[in-house]
Subunit: 513 residues, 2 copies
Amino acid sequence: MNGAESLVHTLLASGIETCFSNPGTSEMHFVAALDRIPGMRCVLGLFEGVVTGCADGYARMADRPAATLLHCGPGLANGLANLHNARRAMTPIVNIVGDQATYHRPLDAPLTADTEGFARPVSAWVRTAGSAATVGADAAAAVQAARLEPGQIATLVLPADTAWDEGGVVAEALAVPPAPQAAPATVTEVARMLRRGEPAMLLLGGKALRAPALALAHRIAAATGARLLAQQSNGRIARGQGRVPIERVPYPVDQALSVLAGTRLLVLVGSRAPVGFFAYPGKPGRMTPPDCVVQVLARPEHDQEAALAALAEALGAGEVPLPEAGPRPEAVRSGAITPEAVGRTLAALMPEQAVIADESVTYLRGSFAATHAAPPHDWLQVTGGAIGGGMPIATGAAVGAPGRRVINLQADGSAMYTLQALWTQARERLDVTTIIFSNRKYAILLSELAAVGANPGRTALDMLDLSNPDLEWPLLAHGMGVEAARAESMEQFCDLLTRSFTRPGPFLIELVV
Amino acid sequence: MNGAESLVHTLLASGIETCFSNPGTSEMHFVAALDRIPGMRCVLGLFEGVVTGCADGYARMADRPAATLLHCGPGLANGLANLHNARRAMTPIVNIVGDQATYHRPLDAPLTADTEGFARPVSAWVRTAGSAATVGADAAAAVQAARLEPGQIATLVLPADTAWDEGGVVAEALAVPPAPQAAPATVTEVARMLRRGEPAMLLLGGKALRAPALALAHRIAAATGARLLAQQSNGRIARGQGRVPIERVPYPVDQALSVLAGTRLLVLVGSRAPVGFFAYPGKPGRMTPPDCVVQVLARPEHDQEAALAALAEALGAGEVPLPEAGPRPEAVRSGAITPEAVGRTLAALMPEQAVIADESVTYLRGSFAATHAAPPHDWLQVTGGAIGGGMPIATGAAVGAPGRRVINLQADGSAMYTLQALWTQARERLDVTTIIFSNRKYAILLSELAAVGANPGRTALDMLDLSNPDLEWPLLAHGMGVEAARAESMEQFCDLLTRSFTRPGPFLIELVV
């Protein structure tokens, strides 16, 4: 058995069943091993940013890591931005990065690069395999590291000779410790603080945003008067009918400050204290009022649901009815295309158990509430602010949640970073409906430029404007084998959305806004 | 004057006139400064890999650095692969990477990343600006570092407050030392070694591949019997009528070994001793025979032309006629589409002073000689093996060499990594003819897989095959505003090629091979 074969067997034994890949020459023995050994679903991406974003979306839905297969330092580099997003989402991923043979590396051939150096800023665990005999053990350690709560990125660099040499040894899966529990003393302390009745807020993140944890948080809120809020960006939020509706910390600093104003106690549950996405001259960086006490109930690696259950018990917070979501909205079939109309229409038409991959950036920011009364669904955000997460996350989510329709809410400027994901959707016949909000500009930057007080001239506008030439999204989609059409009215949008939900496979709607 | 304004003034004073940009929020003050201060041409790319590849292509043709404008760590990360290529081409580039304000960084907002960590593997010079008062001086130092012979990558991280704070100071351009001369004793020694008459070869790289240096090398070869060869991958080679035709070290290891077999003396002129692009089991890593002496005449940072002139003089190697290139080939207007037919047709139809940006990978490998008798032209290669260099390099070369037609020889698989470059070509109305060699597979990997002895099954083939669905290149190009058509015969190819050369602006030909 060569090293590559021991690697594939070990990954399978450790529960890795999907490999998003963009292989190169140095990975040919790994490819050959994947070919010979059944059990691994291999999904090809035509760009590494697609591959890593897919792995992020997959694990968010499947709750287990996928592997990626990347080619040398520059191939990994192309995937770093979406690994950054995955790191911020606390997504488990196992990167396998093929590289120069150990004895060839000192010759510094053209593709030789500092692969570990590229990996380190996004990875909690980095190792370069040393020999075929140990690569199996390395792989088991990588999977273990990735699965450590709340989820981490592990990168295993695979020199070509450690793949092709004989002497591979399959390693057994390594035990992953369960999520640690919040300390009982902490729970008691938080209960005591909440009982004081000062204006309080539970800020939820990570697995505290799954349905059971949200229901517990709602009981605590009902018993104490504390408000509930989610972090600004979250890997996955359970939403829709039967779930506790929750708003997020707003992106604009002034709105965030306003939402948090008056809060005297902020309890963190799998979240971090809110800070501005960027600094702005004369505005604070922390969104909490100066006199607000920030108290951790459970860190991201803790068992959020158990912590909330313990807190509810400590508070004697019993079962309460869920807040009434109200009737499901009706689709808006006429009138102007507005964020509110689009939100209501999504709520009206989305199928049960849809998965929303949201990189709408500016367009839908104000209409999150419009989908509270939609059927149950999960909402995935681009968590690290690295542009180009949306389409790959949607693609991977569709692989990780078969049978569920994925709806990718996608800004046009951001879509261009990783549009190659459409091809993977077509090849794998994934049930993804992409809605491109086509405003033909970097709208977020125009507002940011105005915020710095600039009166933009030609040079600035040219750097923020995506027209001249216009991007023709239906052509781009057709060019990659995805059916697509343009909607210039709410009526067309409703028709196309319904059509996309009633047929299998991907579909793209360019919504001109 | 704020820091951003001092930065723009300093870049202009240091001779930077072009900025390839993909800005974000933290760069808005820099964008506003570019807007207010005339003199910088700003070229927008819709993905950072386009931006950095453009800067590479630009500097190869303009012989001076451009700036890039990138957004935070992940924005830089998206540009790393083409910075890797640029590093291998020894291209001068000044990266300006906007980032979190200095005082905001400790709050670890979602987009915060190890920006310097991402920069270091590709940069010879990395600095994070500390204040508005010093950012001008930092910029002057960055340009100086980039211009240091033979050309380096300098990355200046620009925290937002160092851009928006008042107190900016414009810095004067810093002197760049000229390329050092090869030591006279080295020249004498190389002359002595060459006079022994053993089988010798001059291996040329860097600026030794410009026309005057090539002519000197040819005189030396004529006087000593030494052979001439270029490195496998080169930033720029002067070719065509009136230039010395030169072959490159072949990519396949067996061919490279064969070309170098029998060589007893290898003289390096701006080049490095040839090694395999990858290691292969049982094959050597160094392409030189074991008994071959490798002697440096001039390192990449040396003045190659002066070193060759000194060597020619030491050898008494006088003027000799250039080798006869033979008649210009005629276009092949019928018969099968073959690499040879395509090469001859290119030679027949390309305009004077064309610039070839070559990421054809496998397809044209064997037909380099077919263009020796073309009109004078420059040939740019993807030097670091990072896929996705071709289209951006072509785009930047067109900006850096206005009035010259750029011909991008482009493999389809590689094109998908950075296809967004087409939009920049359309927006800037650049004279780029893209020829997509559409074989709908990762052809290089199929041959590599065969080389490892694997008999590929479905899983492996699926990872190396780009059909299902087919990429429709004319649609992709139209979607980004570039005129395009498909050629399925040599006759169509000739017609489309001629048409693209006779009208301004970009054109894409999908050549089905």
